[in-house]
C-alpha cells in the first residue's frame, strides 16, 4: 500500500536517473523514457482504482507521525491528477519521437521531462505546505531548462520572462509558508485544516494564506497576473509547450483547490474574490486570444481563459461546482495538451505557425482536420465531447448558486472560444495557402505524432461519451474536498512506522 503511494515519485525519479545514464544511447533513453511514463500512467490508474474505494490513503515519510514526518496523501483528486499526468507524459514522449528538425531534440529532453514529472506528481500527492514548495521548485527547475532547450533568441527571451516571474511567485509562496508556520506552528495541511476548521487560528495567519493564494494565482495564470504565460509558452519546442500547457498551470489550480478547501471550508470573502477573479480570467483570456495571429499564442491565451472555469468551480464551493472543477481539470489537461501537439503538426506541415502563412491543410491532410476538430470543439464545449459536460456542470452550479453573472460569462466565453477555434480552422485548414510564402513540408516521420494526438483525441471522445463514470468520480472527489474531516483523520491516523 505505502509503496503504491510513493510510486508516483519513485517511478519518474528512477526514469530520470536511467535516462540520464543513457545520454549516449538516444534510442535506449527514448525507450526507457516511454516505459517510465507508461509505468507512471499505470501507477496513476492503480491509485484511481484504490482511491475510488472511497478511502483516503496517507503515509508519513520516514515513519515519523503526522506533524513531524512529511505526509503523502492520496485522495480521489490527487489520484486522478497523477493518472492524467502520466497520460500527458506518454503522449508528449511519443510525440517527441516524430522527426522534426528542432534544435531542442537531443539527449537532455527525456531526463528533464521526468524531472518535471517528479515535481508535478510530488505537488499532487504531498500533504505538507513546505514540501509543496519544494515540489514546486523541482518542477520549476525542470520547466526552466525544458523551455530554453534548443536555444535561440526567441526561446531565451521567453525564458527570461518565465524565469523572473515564476521565481518571484515561488518566493511569495516560501514567505507565505514561513509566515504560516510562525502563526500556527504547523505546516502539515491536515493539522492546518483542523486549526482553521476549529477557528483556533491567530489573525496573523490570514495574510499568510492570502499571500499563498496570490502565489498560486500567479502559477495558475489568473487575472491579473497571467502575463508571463502568453509571453513564454509559444517559444518552446512543440512537445515541451504541450506538456506545459497540459500540466503546469493546473498544478497551480490544484494547489489553489487544496489550500482553499482546507483553510476556508465555509464560503467567505476568499470565495467572493475568487469568483470575480475567475470571471475576469475567463473573459480577458478569451478576448486576448482574439488579437493573436499564431496558433500557439491563441492557444496560450485560451489556457488562461480555461483556468478561469476551474477557479469558478472552486469559488462557488458547492459540491456540484467542485465536481465541475475536477471534471474540468481532467478534461482540460487532455484537450489542451492535444491542441498544442496538433498545432505543432499543422505548423510542421505548413512550414509556419503564423496563421497568415498557413493554409490548405483540410485538402492536404483531412485526417489532421479531424484530429483538430475533436479537441477544438471539446474546448468550446460542443456536445457530446468532454468540454460540454465540464461546462454544463459549472454553468448549472452557477445557476444553482444564483451567480447569474458567472453563468453568463461562462457561456459567453464558450462562444468566444468557438470563434477562436473557427479562426484557426478557417486560416490554417480551409483557406488555400498563399503561394511563395513557405514551402509545405511532407508528413514523413510524423507517425508517432499522429499516434499521440489520435490517442488523446480518442480519450476526449471517450470522456465525452462515457461521461457518467467520470462524472461520478468527479462528484465523489468533490465530496471528499468539501468535507476535509476525512482528509484530516486519514493523515493523523496514518501515524509513524
Amino acid at each position: 500500500m505505502n509503496t503504491l503511494i510513493v510510486a508516483p515519485l519513485l517511478v519518474p525519479l528512477a526514469t530520470f536517473v536511467l535516462t540520464l545514464l543513457c545520454r549516449r544511447a538516444p534510442r535506449m533513453a527514448g525507450a526507457l523514457s516511454l516505459l517510465g511514463a507508461l509505468a507512471l500512467t499505470g501507477v496513476g490508474i492503480g491509485l484511481v482504482a484504490l482511491a475510488d474505494q472511497g478511502q483516503i490513503f496517507a503515509t508519513q515519510a520516514g515513519g515519523w507521525a503526522a506533524p513531524y514526518g512529511i505526509s503523502l496523501v492520496i485522495d480521489r483528486l490527487s489520484a486522478a491528477m497523477v493518472a492524467i499526468t502520466g497520460i500527458v507524459g506518454v503522449a508528449t514522449i511519443v510525440f517527441s519521437m516524430a522527426r522534426d528538425a528542432d534544435a531542442a531534440r537531443g539527449a537532455d529532453f527525456h531526463p528533464l521531462v521526468h524531472g518535471l514529472l517528479v515535481g508535478v506528481c510530488g505537488a499532487f500527492i504531498t500533504g505538507d505546505v513546505f514540501n509543496l514548495y519544494v515540489w514546486f521548485e523541482v518542477l520549476l527547475v525542470g520547466s526552466f531548462a525544458l523551455l530554453v532547450l534548443g536555444g535561440g533568441k526567441r526561446r531565451v527571451s521567453g525564458t527570461v520572462v518565465y524565469v523572473a516571474l515564476n521565481l518571484v511567485a515561488t518566493m511569495m509562496f516560501l514567505l507565505a509558508a514561513g509566515m504560516l508556520y510562525g502563526a500556527t506552528g504547523s505546516l502539515n495541511m491536515a493539522l492546518l485544516a483542523e486549526q482553521f476548521a476549529q477557528g483556533q487560528v491567530p489573525p496573523t495567519a490570514q495574510p499568510a494564506v492570502v499571500l499563498m493564494l496570490t502565489a498560486f494565482a500567479i502559477k495558475a495564470a489568473l487575472f491579473p497576473v497571467f502575463g508571463w504565460l502568453p509571453a513564454s509558452y509559444h517559444v518552446a519546442w512543440t512537445p515541451v509547450s504541450a506538456l506545459f500547457a497540459g500540466l503546469l498551470t493546473k498544478v497551480g489550480v490544484y494547489a489553489l483547490i487544496r489550500i482553499v478547501t482546507l483553510t476556508a471550508p465555509e464560503p467567505g470573502l476568499v470565495h467572493d474574490i475568487l469568483l470575480w477573479v475567475a470571471c475576469a480570467t475567463m473573459l480577458i483570456g478569451v478576448l486576448g486570444a482574439t488579437a493573436q495571429m499564431e496558433v500557439r499564442r491563441i492557444l496560450s491565451f485560451h489556457i488562461v481563459s480555461q483556468v478561469g472555469y476551474m477557479v469558478l468551480g472552486l469559488a462557488l464551493a458547492t459540491p456540484l461546482a467542485l465536481a465541475g472543477a475536477v471534471f474540468y481539470l481532467i478534461h482540460h489537461i487532455v484537450v489542451k495538451a492535444n491542441l498544442f501537439l496538433i498545432g505543432g503538426i499543422a505548423a510542421h506541415l505548413s512550414g509556419s505557425e503564423r496563421l497568415a502563412a498557413m493554409g490548405g491543410l483540410y485538402a492536404r491532410a483531412p485526417w489532421l482536420a479531424l484530429l483538430f476538430a475533436i479537441p477544438a470543439l471539446s474546448l468550446a464545449g460542443i456536445p457530446p465531447l468532454s468540454g460540454f459536460w465540464a461546462k454544463f456542470l459549472l454553468v448549472k452550479a452557477s445557476l444553482d448558486a444564483t451567480a447569474w453573472i458567472a453563468a453568463a460569462v461562462a457561456l459567453a466565453t464558450g462562444i468566444f472560444t468557438l470563434l477562436s477555434m473557427s479562426k484557426i480552422w478557417n486560416e490554417a485548414f480551409l483557406k488555400p495557402q498563399a503561394a511563395g510564402t513557405t514551402t509545405a513540408q511532407h508528413g514523413a516521420g510524423l507517425r508517432p505524432a499522429v499516434l499521440a494526438t489520435a490517442s488523446l483525441g480518442v480519450l476526449t471522445v471517450a470522456i465525452g461519451l462515457g461521461a457518467g463514470p467520470v462524472m461520478d468520480y468527479a462528484v465523489a472527489a468533490a465530496e471528499q474536498l468539501a468535507a476535509p474531516a476525512s482528509y484530516i483523520q486519514a493523515v493523523i491516523a496514518a501515524g509513524g512506522g
Partner: protein, 135 residues
C-alpha cells in the same frame, strides 16, 4: 531582536522589488537574489529568535529555551534551492546577453512577442538530424 530582523527583512524585500522593477536584466537577477534572502530571513525568524540553546535533545530531554529547529531546516533547504535557481538565472542572463547583445529587459522580452520565424523550407522533414549529429 525580532524588530531588528523585521526591519532588515523589510529593507531587503524593498530593495529586491525595487531592483526587480529596473530595466536592466542584470539588476533584475540581483534583485531576485536580494528578495530571496529577505524571504529566507523572514522564514528563519518565523521560529522566534529569543532561544538560548541549540535544539539538541539529550538523555535529559530538550533543553529549556531551545530554538525551534524546523524553520532552520526549512531555511537551509530554501537557501540551497535558491542558490541553484540563482545559478540558473545567471546562466540564462549570460545566454540572453550572447543572443540579444543587450541587458535591457524590455528589448529582450519583446523578442518573444515577434512573429514566429518560419521553418526553413529545406529543413529535412524525414530525417532526424540532431540524432545523427549525436547531440
Amino acid at each position: 531582536m525580532e524588530v531588528l530582523v523585521s526591519i532588515t527583512v523589510g529593507l531587503l524585500v524593498a530593495i529586491g522589488i525595487w531592483m526587480l522593477l529596473d530595466g536592466s536584466l542584470l539588476r533584475v537577477v540581483i534583485g531576485i537574489v536580494v528578495l530571496g534572502n529577505g524571504v529566507n530571513l523572514a522564514v528563519f525568524a518565523s521560529g522566534r529568535l529569543g532561544a538560548r540553546a541549540a535544539a539538541f535533545i539529550t538523555d535529559a530531554g530538550a533543553p529549556p529555551l531551545a530554538a525551534d529547529p524546523l524553520p532552520q531546516a526549512l531555511v537551509l533547504t530554501a537557501i540551497v534551492i535558491g542558490f541553484a535557481l540563482f545559478v540558473f538565472a545567471l546562466a540564462v542572463l549570460k545566454r540572453s546577453w550572447e543572443a540579444h547583445d543587450t541587458v535591457e529587459a524590455d528589448r529582450i522580452s519583446a523578442v518573444a512577442e515577434e512573429a514566429a520565424t518560419d521553418t526553413m523550407p529545406d529543413a529535412p522533414a524525414g530525417r532526424d538530424t540532431a540524432a545523427e549529429r549525436g547531440t
